[in-house]
């Protein structure tokens, strides 16, 4: 059974911050089929299209029949822990400073055997449930946990290395004026976040929900206008060393595409607020987060972007907005690569139109801000990297996988 983790004490300012290290990251190209699965929280294995056999590790030919038709498919997660060991003297620096570390060999009910990280409550000879997780190097690793929930399950030391659980972490939510921002704050608070810095531009202007927000224990309203580089830098100078999770809830949604707009001022606003705002935040907060990726229980853990699913395929009714979101998506991949040495995850939450004033004229289904907030918290707890929130986002994801050209034509119809 796992002891609950204790709330970390205030950090001794004289103590050296332990630098982040990465577990071994090289993988074969084929193995990134598992990276994709882990990023979305799916459990996928290769299954032979010819003979149906599952296989692992990632291969280029089926070991049962030599077929090359080895697609990654969602696979049954259940297996049995055959044998386990506790590593006391790992060769690699990352694990050496985390020893003792438990690993095991699991026989999947569907056939393959997986060398895997173990949740502390896994017992030899007993059933386990498997997932693929992104480790601190950002690569997929197998993780086994008990079939039934056990007390304080998510406080497991090895599990917490794979996730960005908000419990006892300090969070910056960049825009507290919006409904989405307020819902994210509430959800993170329920998930155990200890301090919630909530950015508000021009705080002297009152806004709806302000009282409830200020009444939440742990909330600190901070001045932040992400379109203004100095405002972002000033805030980072104050709190940059204690932001463990950053959720960028800033939004700037305007309808319209290219030809029916006159001039570039609206487009420029979209770029200033969305794209350059992201740049400002990343440059101000990213370096400190990257350096604090191994800073104890409340190490820096994740950066969350809320992106329109139309970042993936332009929706001409909101065409210029879609383009600004595509720019942010591209930049998120750059940020992901640059935060990776710190073991800090970049989570992209793709949502369809939100049920907010800026999508007033759009017919349902729309995503309730509360649903988006709870999906973000769930992604942090599970250690996911890409989530699709709501029916429209899921619809676009599936259609893009099937035929991107069809999506383009149909969105532009």
């Amino acid at each position: 059974m796992i002891e609950p983790i204790a709330k970390p004490r205030r950090k001794n300012p004289l103590a050296r911050t332990r630098l982040p290290t990465s577990p071994p990251h090289p993988r074969s190209r084929k193995s990134h089929g598992l990276t994709r699965a882990a990023a979305e929280g799916r459990f996928m294995l290769q299954r032979c299209g010819a003979c149906g056999a599952f296989s692992y590790p990632a291969r280029d030919a089926c070991p049962a029949c030599l077929s090359a038709d080895l697609a990654f498919v969602d696979a049954p997660r259940r297996g049995t822990l055959l044998s386990e060991t506790t590593l006391h003297v790992p060769a690699d620096v990352h694990f050496r400073e985390r020893a003792p570390w438990r690993v095991g060999l699991v026989a999947m009910d569907c056939g393959p055997r997986l060398v895997t990280h173990l949740h502390a409550d896994c017992e030899e000879g007993r059933p386990v449930v498997m997932s693929f997780q992104l480790d601190k190097s950002g690569q997929a690793v197998a993780f086994a946990y008990p079939e039934r929930e056990t007390p304080n399950m998510t406080d497991d030391r090895q599990w917490r290395e794979m996730t960005a659980d908000p419990k006892f972490r300090r969070v910056l939510v960049t825009n507290g004026r919006s409904v989405v921002g307020q819902e994210v704050v509430t959800a993170l608070k329920s998930a155990g976040a200890s301090i919630l810095f909530v950015g508000v531009a021009e705080p002297w202007k009152p806004f709806r929900g302000e009282e409830a927000l200020r009444a939440l224990e742990g909330v600190q309203i901070v001045p932040l206008d992400i379109g203004d580089e100095k405002s972002v830098m000033d805030l980072a100078a104050d709190i940059g060393g204690k932001v463990d999770i950053l959720v960028n809830t800033s939004e700037h949604v305007r309808a319209g595409g290219l030809l029916d707009r006159q001039g570039t001022s609206v487009v420029r606003d979209e770029i200033d607020q969305s794209y350059l705002g992201f740049v400002h935040l990343a440059q101000a907060f990213g370096p400190a987060m990257r350096a604090r990726g191994a800073d104890g229980v409340n190490s820096a853990a994740a950066w969350v972007n809320i992106l329109s699913v139309y970042a993936l395929a332009n929706w001409p009714a909101f065409g210029a907005y879609s383009a600004s979101q595509a720019a942010c998506l591209s930049l998120s991949h750059c940020l992901r690569a640059e935060l990776r040495p710190g073991g800090v995850k970049v989570v992209n939450a793709f949502a369809g139109p939100l049920d907010t004033e800026w999508f007033q004229t759009v017919p349902p289904p729309k995503v309730a801000p509360r649903v988006l907030a709870s999906a973000i918290v769930s992604a942090l707890k599970r250690g996911l990297e890409d989530i699709y929130v709501g029916d429209v986002a899921e619809d676009v994801r599936q259609r893009l996988a099937a035929n991107p050209k069809a999506v383009e034509r149909e969105l532009g119809a």
Partner: protein, 392 residues
């Protein structure tokens, strides 16, 4: 026992067992170690490098060089070359390939060499670059080389067959006793069962004295026709039988046996001897649990009887079952691919009566085995050879 249709190794012999004494760390390259071994072969045989027309080499640390590049490095002009990357099974495989080449007339004198250096970071580099499955699905889990893989195998074996740590300890302690008689062994101090039991854990149930120490060194031998050996007046070792098997029993959930179990009958049939006829055994001992499995798989007892077999025998040089008489890798050191050759080269010395302080009295016939390549969750390669001296 079944019949064998394999051609015997008639008129082919091994000669000139060579060991370049090991060091824990070396600033020299693998090429340096291989070069010293070649020189010792040439000196030991009383030939010139020009007389070597076949070259078979194994090394983890030779960088970009395979056998072909090394021919130029060492000024060898050969008509047969092989590079064998089979880890702990490399020596058995080298012997098999070289013997057939000589028998067929493709080469006259084959130099079989394994040499590795050990820089302070060599071992980690080898771990990181071992194999694709290891890279994708083992190394990212913190496994310190084979330790974790063998821990999973050993724990399962202990639970399934009732082996205890003390049983593994008995093997390690006996080998240390043997090593104290071998001036080339890196381990120089005695080991008691109490010390073995009290050692620090590395990856449960693997503790410190279950692990080999990576080091630098080289081992080598020559394979040639019986007539060539006679003309050079070299004491010659006969090859009675060999087996080799890879990726056997892939459906066993956890490895409890090696490929030997598949071919053991043929080994003894081809040799025309029984396990009882052997005067000594050199198993591949990267961990004692693997030696115990070999006692079963090589026919000295049945599957699951390994622990009892160990309890009943004395594995020292003068004991009831002389085993890893040089001290084995556990006490001599693991010089990379040289570890594969250690038992074979020691077996040659034993049957030739040249083993000096580690000599088993009146040893005429012995067995040496190999095991290697923990590609993912188990060792893939296995091999064994039964060797005999001139009097056998």
């Amino acid at each position: 026992m079944q019949n064998t249709i394999r051609t015997p190794y008639d008129r082919v012999v091994m000669a000139v067992p060579v060991t370049i004494p090991y060091v824990r760390y070396s600033i020299e390259s693998a090429q340096w170690w291989i070069g010293r071994a070649l020189r010792s072969l040439v000196d030991g045989a009383g030939i010139t490098p020009r007389d070597i027309d076949g070259f078979c080499v194994s090394s983890f640390t030779a960088g970009l060089d395979s056998g072909i590049g090394l021919t130029q490095h060492f000024g060898l002009c050969v008509r047969w070359v092989d590079t064998i990357p089979l880890g702990g099974a490399s020596a058995i495989a080298a012997l098999r390939r070289a013997a057939r080449a000589v028998q067929a007339g493709d080469a006259r004198i084959v130099a079989c060499v394994a040499g590795d250096t050990n820089h302070v970071d060599s071992f980690r580099f080898t771990l990181e670059n071992f194999s694709r499955f290891n890279q994708d699905a083992v190394y990212p889990y913190g496994a310190g080389g084979a330790n974790a893989s063998f821990a999973l195998i050993a724990r399962n074996y202990m639970r399934t067959f009732g082996a205890r740590r003390e049983d593994f300890g008995k093997i390690a302690v006996a080998q240390r006793a043997n090593a104290l008689r071998n001036p080339n062994a890196l381990m120089k101090s005695p080991l008691t069962i109490e010390q073995y039991m009290a050692a620090r854990p590395i990856a449960d149930p693997i503790h410190l004295f279950d692990c080999v120490m990576p080091c630098a060194g080289a081992e080598a031998f020559l394979v040639m026709g019986e007539d060539v050996a006679a003309s050079l007046k070299l004491p010659a070792v006969k090859i009675l039988a060999t087996i080799e098997r890879h990726n056997a029993f892939g459906d066993d959930p956890v490895q409890v046996r090696g490929g030997w179990a598949m071919d053991v009958d043929e080994l003894y049939t081809m040799a025309g001897v029984k396990p009882d006829d052997l005067d000594f055994v050199e198993t591949y001992d990267d961990y004692p649990v693997i030696s115990m499995m070999q006692f079963e798989d090589l026919g000295f007892c049945r599957k699951g009887e390994g622990p009892d077999f160990v309890r009943q025998h004395d594995f020292t040089i003068d004991g009831s079952f002389p085993h890893n008489t040089s001290g084995g890798q556990l006490s001599v050191g693991q010089a990379g691919a040289g570890g594969a050759y250690l038992g074979v080269v020691e077996a040659m010395r034993q049957v030739l009566g040249l083993a000096g302080p580690t000599q088993v009295k009146d040893a005429r016939i012995g067995l040496a085995s190999g095991f290697g390549m923990i590609n993912y969750d188990r060792g893939l390669a296995s091999g064994a050879a039964i060797l005999a001296g001139p009097g056998a």
